[in-house]
Point group: C2
Chain length 175, copies 2
């Protein structure tokens, strides 16, 4: 055919998600234990088509991973807490990062606001929380911490594929 040596990246754009992708993502974010046949029926595609799309979504990073969500209490960590850490200069010292090694630490974000870092942790008991606080205060530059212990969790779900569109207009009252 052609002998053009043109090896332009040819990189396809991230290719914005279409309606099918959205439905697939919504379904998988709610339950990843479905067969491609079941997914296909929900979104209106054949199993192979869904398979190919999921493959692409995973490789492109839209789907970060597929995981089993465990019950904190069942694995021995009934105490959930959010910890605000105030650190000097800049929060993300390598030292502070090591706190992430504890399996009790699930999230770690640097934030704009009073705190320089917010952690989500899940502990065995108050004593364990105290120990962790000790570890954090031992980090150079940490000024102080504020802990908020969760009494009840009313909602805890993964990133949803849907986005609210007509913001001012809200879904209240209607139901």
């Amino acid at each position: 055919m052609e002998n053009t040596e043109d090896i332009r990246p040819k990189r396809r754009e991230p290719a914005a998600l279409d309606a099918f992708d959205r439905k697939i993502l919504a379904a998988l974010a709610a339950d990843a234990d479905q067969s491609y046949a079941a997914l296909g029926e929900k979104v209106g595609l054949s199993p192979p088509a869904v398979h190919e799309r999921v493959r692409r979504l995973k490789r492109s990073g839209v789907i970060r991973d597929v995981v089993a969500r465990l019950d904190g209490t069942s694995v021995g960590k009934p105490l959930t807490a959010f910890m605000h850490v105030e650190a000097a200069g800049w929060g993300k010292s390598e030292r502070l990062m090591q706190i992430a090694r504890f399996p009790e630490v699930e999230e770690m974000h640097s934030v704009a606001g009073d705190a320089s870092m917010i952690l989500k942790v899940r502990m065995e008991n108050p004593q364990a929380l105290e120990f962790l606080l000790g570890q954090i205060h031992a980090v150079p530059g940490v000024h102080g911490t504020k802990s908020y212990i969760a009494l009840s969790t009313y909602l805890d779900r993964p990133v949803q594929a849907d986005v609210t569109v007509g913001w001012p207009a809200v879904p209240f009252s209607s139901e």
Copy 2:
């Protein structure tokens, strides 16, 4: 045999997790896309044995669910924030619960501390955040809110199966 009509519950105890269960949970919390054969090899059990254990772990609730974790930015919500809501008397009004209808709201906890409720939200942009704040302030009893916008997320993982045992002794320095 016996003709005893004794229909005592006979309910088996939750049966504490053994080493095999722990390994299976740890593996599935990291990656639920593995075959039972692969899992079996990791934990030292046959595929059917792993299958049976996973089945039990799911039914008993230790494994809440299996989900695909999506990339916030890819689905159009690059802005993550934690919102502290101060509400009168008690936070958990039915009205406030309706906030959970927004797909932008991922977590909702009542907490002990200054705030009566902490939300984790993921928005499209600051405007969307503003609209959501408006919705929250419109809820009767809400005194105020404090928002912490995440600048960077250094860690974001599901509940880990492992628990730190010898707390005072920490994994630092060693590596």
